[in-house]
């Protein structure tokens, strides 16, 4: 029988995962302001412009607004506050 070895676990210590709540959803987006957040990846601005165009043609009652953070990969608290203050929903992309 092979000798039994006791070895260490090589992994670090992960943080405790604290659950976060999703926001309540409206029944409809009619008349609402929807922010299209361009995450600044290459060509994501064009994707968001096409998305705005799609809403304009297919769901014109939804008011879309394009917005960009100051930098890619970095949380822009000012932009987030603006969306929270003036928006009713957000589509973020095209990100990883």
């Amino acid at each position: 029988m092979a000798e039994l070895l006791t070895v260490h676990d090589p992994r670090g210590y992960p943080p405790r995962v604290v659950g976060k709540r999703l926001a309540q959803r409206p029944e409809s987006l009619d008349g609402k302001a929807l922010y299209l957040v361009d995450c600044l990846f290459d060509n994501s601005e064009n994707f968001m412009r096409e998305l705005a165009d799609w809403f304009g043609k297919n769901l014109p009652s939804i008011r879309t607004r394009l917005i960009q953070p100051r930098q890619s990969w970095v949380d822009d608290a000012d932009m987030r506050a603006k969306v929270a203050r003036e928006g009713d929903g957000a589509i973020l992309g095209v990100g990883l």
Binding site: T6, G12, A23, L29, V94
Partner: protein, 433 residues
């Protein structure tokens, strides 16, 4: 996710190849049911018409119309799980269940805890021996690390670093170097799609104390300390940050062979210039390790020969858009001194002045568009000036402070290499003895 917390219904759009990463990240952030929708990969380089086809097509992960997924994500009522989210502990044990050597080797491979080469199993005795290489207590927190900026930080102790040092085959006398690398907080297992990894350059008396190689073959697998310190840095990066698993915590599309081990010592004795750690503000008598991030490209050359300036200009402006780390054999360094480069700064300034591209080429790059253009638009210099340049106007690619120069090698050939590698920081090794 932060918008949801602020009460704004949100949906994140990703390309389908990132579905695993996106979902794992959402779970790790305590919002596993965050709304996501997917379009095919790639988005880069597509025309507006092709992007429109994505929008009017199906989500490749669900097979349902993409826009239906988006609208439902923003309007469908939440259920009980959505409202409570998910909280849980993910603590890792100190020790694994006892088993035979073959089974444990297999377990480490199956759990993605190795680099798929055999490891030294971290038994209690071996880890205890490694811990004798430092005066720091086993439970001291060394630092924290993560594979990318959108993942959560994991934390680690001196003992956890010792476990990975044992696995790499390192000796206790190397342990202060490995602790310093861990303390850098800079991961050698970045999940970037650009397949980046890190390189470590050791300076000071410890190079000789532990027998590191700064001569012939310094950058290769020809020295126990160089190789096992580099391997320990790679292993600790993946295991202490929460993994480096393709599709989950690693997305480097091509991968990078330097991620196995990339560590060497500067040949200070044969260099005509100031050692790297002194340049970075540490005393010459102190031992230190400097970390470079990227290793996205490698060029090489010889000389400096008659046409060295043309050769160097081509390498510097090769389009890789990552600042160069030049590693030169002492022969090359001496010949540069004979050409007037009596300090590192002179050669670095020449490199900065000659790394140039037409603005059109400079900006036509995915890395530059994604990471530097937003800074330019926000008015941050020098990027803002580069963005103002006319398409055919020549712009400088790097600032002198971004370029680094190290002397290594054994004088067997007047060779140099240029790595695309960004300087991160220099950490005292003596502080970890």
């Amino acid at each position: 996710m932060l918008l949801e917390e602020a009460g704004i219904p949100s949906v994140a759009v990703h390309t389908d190849v990132f579905a695993g990463v996106a979902r794992a990240t959402a779970t790790a952030n305590g919002i596993p049911r965050t709304r996501q929708a997917f379009v095919p990969q790639p988005v880069v380089d597509l025309s507006r018409a092709e992007l429109r086809a994505y929008i009017e097509g199906n989500d490749p992960t669900s097979g349902r119309p993409f826009m239906r997924e988006v609208i439902e994500a923003l309007t469908c009522p939440l259920d009980a799980d959505d409202l409570t989210g998910l909280s849980f502990d993910r603590s890792t044990p100190r020790l694994l269940a006892p088993d035979g050597e073959a089974n444990l080797q297999r377990l480490f491979i199956e759990n993605h805890w190795t680099d798929y080469l055999p490891i030294v199993l971290p038994t209690e005795e071996r880890v205890a021996a490694m811990l004798k290489g430092t005066s720091h207590p086993p439970d001291e927190i060394v630092g924290r690390m993560r594979p990318t900026s959108f993942r959560e930080f994991w934390e680690y102790t001196v003992e956890k670093v010792a476990v990975n040092a044992v696995m790499a085959g390192a000796r206790p006398e190397y342990f202060p170097v490995i602790l310093a690398l861990a303390a850098s907080g800079s991961t050698a297992k970045s999940s970037s799609t650009t397949s980046m990894t890190n390189m470590a350059v050791v300076n000071g008396p410890i190079r000789h104390e532990i027998g590191m190689n700064c001569g012939i073959g310094a950058l290769g697998p020809y020295n126990h300390a160089n190789v096992t310190i580099g391997r320990a840095y790679a292993l600790l990066s993946q295991n202490l940050q929460g993994g480096s698993v393709p599709g989950e915590t690693y997305m480097g599309t091509l991968g990078n062979g330097l991620a196995y081990s990339a560590c060497f010592a500067e040949n200070e004795e044969k260099s005509p210039w100031e050692p790297l750690h002194v340049e970075k503000g540490l005393p010459a008598g102190e031992s230190a390790v400097s970390v470079f991030f990227g290793l996205r490209y490698v060029h090489e050359g010889y000389g400096p020969r008659e046409t060295w300036q043309e050769k160097m200009r081509r390498c510097l402006s090769s389009g890789a858009h990552f600042p160069p780390l030049l590693v030169m054999d002492p022969i090359v360094a001496r010949l540069f001194v004979e050409r007037g480069m009596t300090t590192k700064e002179r050669l670095i300034d020449w490199c900065a002045a000659n790394a140039r591209l037409p603005a059109r080429e400079y900006w036509d790059d995915q890395w530059v568009q994604t990471l530097l253009r937003p800074l330019a638009v926000a008015g941050v210099e020098p990027y803002a000036s580069r963005l103002k340049a006319a398409p055919d106007e020549i712009v400088q690619m790097f600032e002198p402070k971004e370029i680094n120069l190290v002397v290594a090698g054994g004088g067997a050939q007047g060779a140099w290499k240029m790595f695309g590698a960004r300087y991160e920081r220099t950490i005292s090794i003596d502080a970890w003895r």
